[in-house]
């Protein structure tokens, strides 16, 4: 499992990319999807996820819709058009960063 320290700066990018690939998702689903994609090596904590989601919503990058499932109310997140363009930017930024890091640390990525 990766340390949360390393994840801190990439959380938003991960969430955005996952939402881009899967469209509409709710909070728990996002954590599960990330867990699956990372072979259980990245576990998003709820304490980090929800504030981030709400912040992105407030900034107009995500929009939400709710659905009643029995007694439960489920809140789905999707990217807004503004969010979509942001994803590309963020992913490009992160790949660029990974490359730089590999150079800095003098390691070859498999």
């Amino acid at each position: 499992m990766h340390s949360p320290e390393l994840l801190k700066g990439t959380l938003q990018t991960i969430v955005l990319k996952v939402l881009k690939d899967h469209g509409r998702m709710y909070g728990y689903e996002i954590t599960q999807r990330v867990k699956e994609l990372s072979d259980e090596r990245i576990l998003l904590t709820e304490g980090a996820l929800y504030p981030a989601l709400h912040k992105l919503e407030a900034e107009g990058i995500l929009k939400t819709e709710t659905e009643n499932i029995g007694k439960r109310i489920r809140k789905y997140y999707t990217l807004t058009p503004q969010g979509k363009s942001l994803v590309k930017e963020r992913v490009a930024e992160l790949t660029d960063f990974i490359k730089t890091m590999s150079n800095v640390l003098q390691v070859k990525l498999a």
Binding site: Y28, P51, E59, K75
Partner: protein, 897 residues
């Protein structure tokens, strides 16, 4: 496996219990937890175990709350949303409590408008003479002379000073002199117009001062005798739609002058405003080589890079080289040492041009200047008024905290952080202050004409400058912040548990700071009331003091010289009318600004040295002077036509008699001074001798800021100046029309102007009377604002105590006892304020009165009266609210439905 509804209810309740109140977030958490629990239960884990495992992921209660807190604060960093919400709530709050909002806005906007006006005024005063490009290199000579018992602090320098400075001192680039000769009658062909802003000056005037020319050459304009430069105003008056250059104007019916330059009118913020400049080259007096007669205001331009202190250090040598040798010629056995020993002094220093308007009040100023102390005073008053208004805001906000405590509690329970609440309250005060500032601009716009009238200025709001709006905005933010920061700390600190249970230390009890603020407000108000009272008392004292002459019922006709040889005929014609008591022709009047002339005299037979000489005012008068002005003879007799020898007689005032002869009677003694030779220069060989025939009671002929100095009067061979007329008639109009009719007959084409002696006398104290009115207005404003606050505070107290009052009344309390109960707290505060304010006021008043030679005695009851007045006003303010509360029917307040 699906969770049952029971499970879900359990989770919702549990989350509530753990303090998750944010609706949106709660739904998400429930869904999230349910999903996670369901997954875990698929591995045959019991519900509760699964639930606790999931909770652990969230970090139990602490983790949950942390997440909630973070989510809320993240949401609120969106500035637009935050501001919009604060703005709406603030507006609603202000509207809901419109009475308190009104008190706050009214107080603040009045305070701010006063501040704006004062600020404009102060900025205007600080701008004086800054329009001269070389302002930082222009200086004026200041002479300080002690001679023959008289002290002179003046702008006058000797005639040769300017030329010597320019030629012998490398630090000086150019120098210019001014010589005032009073007003002139000016005509083009026929009708004379009287112009008072006329001055003689040297040709370098345009080189030193920045006075842009519209026409003419600045280098040569004033070089030739008989040439004048005129302002645009004068050019338009005499040569409308014509080229003024090259034309001629006739001054005083006998001097033909050629116009060589037309310059732009001098700006209002200049310490001189000349309309006509006459070339000094045509003035004989200007060529005089005499160093001990000071008549010329002298300005010089310092060379770039030179230090004025270095120049000043050379002035003592200049005196030794030029002044002392001439003194030696005139005075018996003169040495510089003896000169100093007799208490005499002669010092020249310099004044920077930019300092003149605010720091200089010497003899021979062109116009009355302002005083820097008043600038400080005004700024202090402006600040005080603003502080009083801000205090109202603070007090009302904290006093009403009780009403808002519940709001704070609920908000906090709903997850508001303290910082949110503080921002909310600050927003309210910012809105209020912004609104007040906008109102204040309007108020200031209305106030300015009144103030301009009062302060004799031409101020206007700089409404076209973006800087002004920036300033207003900054001001609003600063004031709003300062007034709002304390209430916002105070209100946001409430603990929700206490507040919602209803046992918070409410409004009135948290009153120490509030009480101190009320005390402070009233301290300032009482101080201002005392100051105003004393200024008015001093003014009144001056106006009614026994002056030694009678200033009422005297009209003075100006420029009697325009009548030429018919002066005496005019006087005789006038005297024929029964309602004219007396008339006298003289240029020397007992009000500041008329002719003065002073020469040293000594008793005949004593040696003419520094010890025996007394510097005396030499007034040339006529036979009727003393009678006309209502002075009284103390010893000896008045001038009389019966004694032809009176042409060599002199009447002294008491001070002169005392200074010349100490205790012995002086009647019949003879006094000497040096006479003039044919060129007007002093001639030691030609002694002038006059015989003392009388002593007149001391009368005040300068402002009461100065003491009465020795003076002598003798008969003039050719009296001139003003015709002063003492009349009996109650109808001054009649007297004036008669004077004018006679004048028109004898001097057609010459302007007839006149003034009343008591008006001219009043003008000496124009600055004081302005100060009095301005002080009066400011202190009333301060008191009104402070009382507005008190009014609202009592209203609030009464509101808080409705139930208490009801119960007391039911139990038999009288109306008066309830009124006393309600007002005694604040009454006490006003008393404390009075006790604290009195020493400050006493000190301030004494400082101000120092500048007067004759001052009113401020008795203790003045202070008491001011205190009683302040207390009375405060009491009346409070009683309206408290009587209303006390009179209300207890049924209304006690009934609960």
């Amino acid at each position: 496996m699906q969770l049952t509804n029971d499970h879900i209810d359990y989770i919702i309740k549990d989350l509530n219990y753990r303090g998750i109140v944010h609706d949106d977030l709660q739904h998400e958490f429930v869904d999230h937890i349910c999903s996670a629990v369901e997954e875990k239960m698929q591995g045959n884990v019991r519900f509760l175990d699964a639930y606790h495992a999931v909770l652990q992921q969230f970090g139990h209660t602490t983790g949950l709350r942390q997440t909630q807190l973070q989510t809320i604060s993240q949401q609120n960093t969106q500035i637009k949303i935050m501001l919009r919400s604060y703005f709406t709530i603030a507006l609603r709050n202000l509207r809901k409590h419109s009475f308190y909002s009104f008190i706050n806005v009214a107080g603040l906007s009045v305070g701010i408008s006063i501040c704006l006006v004062i600020l404009l005024f102060v900025l205007n005063e600080l701008r004086y003479d800054r329009h001269h490009e070389r302002v930082d290199r222009i200086y004026r000579i200041h002479a300080e002379i002690d001679f023959a018992g008289n002290h002179y602090d003046m702008t006058y320098a000797p005639a040769p000073m300017a030329a010597t400075l320019a030629s012998d001192y490398p630090e000086v680039e150019a120098a210019v002199r001014f010589r005032e000769q009073g007003s002139y009658l000016i005509k083009r062909e026929a009708d004379n117009i009287k112009e008072s802003k006329v001055i003689w000056t040297d040709k370098d005037f345009f080189k030193i001062f920045t006075v842009p020319l519209i026409a003419g050459n600045p280098e040569t304009a004033l070089a030739e005798p008989k040439s004048i430069a005129i302002s645009k105003e004068i050019a338009d008056k005499f040569f409308p739609n014509e080229e003024a250059i090259g034309q001629t104007l006739i001054l005083d019916n006998n001097m033909t002058m050629k116009v060589t330059a037309v310059y732009q009118d001098m700006p209002a913020t200049s310490h001189f405003h000349f309309n006509v400049l006459i070339a000094m080259a045509g003035l004989d007096e200007a060529k005089s080589p005499v160093w001990f007669s000071n008549n010329f205001q002298t300005y010089f331009l310092l060379r770039d890079g030179a230090n004025v202190k270095n120049l000043e250090e050379k002035f003592p040598d200049l005196i030794t080289k030029h002044v002392m040798p001439q003194m030696k010629e005139v005075l018996d056995d003169f040495t510089p040492e003896k000169f100093a020993e007799a208490g005499n002094k002669l010092v020249y220093t310099t004044q920077a041009l930019s300092d003149i308007h605010l720091y200089s009040s010497l003899q021979g100023e062109f116009e009355p200047n302002f005083d820097i102390t008043y600038i400080y005073l005004f700024v202090a008053i402006a600040l005080f008024i603003l502080i009083i208004a801000s205090i109202n805001f603070m007090n009302l906000s904290t006093a009403r905290s009780a009403n808002r405590a519940k709001e704070v509690g609920v908000r906090k329970v709903m997850g508001s952080l303290r910082s949110h609440l503080m921002r909310q309250f600050l927003m309210e005060s910012l809105l209020l202050s912004l609104f007040s500032f906008i109102l204040a601009i309007g108020l200031a716009y209305l106030l300015l004409p009144l103030f301009n009238n009062l302060a004799a200025r031409e101020l206007s709001l700089p409404l076209t400058q973006p800087f002004f709006y920036l300033f207003i905005l900054t001001g609003a933010i600063v004031v709003g912040f300062l007034a709002g920061v304390y209430p916002s700390f105070f209100l946001s600190a409430f603990k929700p548990v206490n507040v919602l249970k209803g046992n918070v230390a409410l409004g009135m009890k948290s009153g120490f700071i509030r009480s101190s603020l009320v005390v402070f407000q009233f301290m300032i108000s009482i101080f201002l009331v005392i100051a105003t009272a004393v200024v008015y008392m001093q003014l009144d004292y001056i106006q009614t003091k026994k002056l030694g002459f009678n200033k009422d019922q005297v009209i003075m006709v100006d420029d009697i010289y325009a009548l030429g040889n018919q002066r005496l005929t005019y006087k005789e014609e006038i005297m024929r009318h029964s309602f004219i008591e007396n008339a006298s022709i003289a240029g020397y009047l007992p009000v500041a600004g008329s002719n003065r002339s002073d020469t040293p005299w000594w008793i005949e037979g004593k040696e003419a040295n520094q010890e025996n000489m007394v510097s005396l005012q030499n007034w040339q008068v006529d036979h009727d002077y003393i009678k006309t002005f209502g002075m009284s003879i103390k010893e000896g007799r008045d001038f009389s036509h019966i004694f032809p020898s009176d042409s060599n007689a002199v009447i002294l005032n008491e001070s002169a008699a005392k200074a010349l002869s100490f205790n012995e009677s002086i009647i019949g003694k003879r006094v000497n001074t040096f006479g003039d030779d044919s060129n007007g220069d002093l001639n030691k060989g030609n002694l002038r001798v006059l015989t003392v025939i009388g002593v007149v009671e001391d009368f005040h002929f300068e402002s009461l800021k100065q003491s009465v100095t020795p003076l002598m009067m003798f008969l003039s061979k050719r009296p001139s100046g003003y015709l002063s007329v003492r009349f009996q008639s109650a109808n001054a109009e009649e007297v004036i029309s008669m004077l004018e009719k006679e004048w028109k007959e004898m001097a057609p084409g010459q302007p007839f102007t006149y003034q009343f002696l008591d008006d001219s006398f009043g003008k000496m104290y124009a600055a004081e009377s302005r100060l009095g009115s301005i002080f009066g207005i400011f202190s009333s404003v301060a008191i009104i604002i402070a009382c507005l606050g008190l009014f609202a505070l009592t209203a609030f107290t009464a509101e808080q105590c409705t139930k208490e009052i009801g119960i007391r009344k039911v139990l038999g309390a009288s109306v008066s006892s309830i009124v006393i109960m309600l007002s005694k707290d604040y009454g006490k505060l006003v008393l404390i304020a009075f006790v604290l304010a009195t020493p400050f006021a006493w000190w301030g008043v004494n400082e101000w009165l120092q500048s007067y030679e004759y001052k009113v005695n401020v008795a203790w009851w003045v202070y008491m009266l001011a205190g009683v007045v302040a207390f009375g006003i405060a009491w009346i303010t409070m009683s309206y609210q408290s009587i209303r509360a006390a009179l209300s029917n207890p049924v209304n307040s006690l009934r609960s439905e």
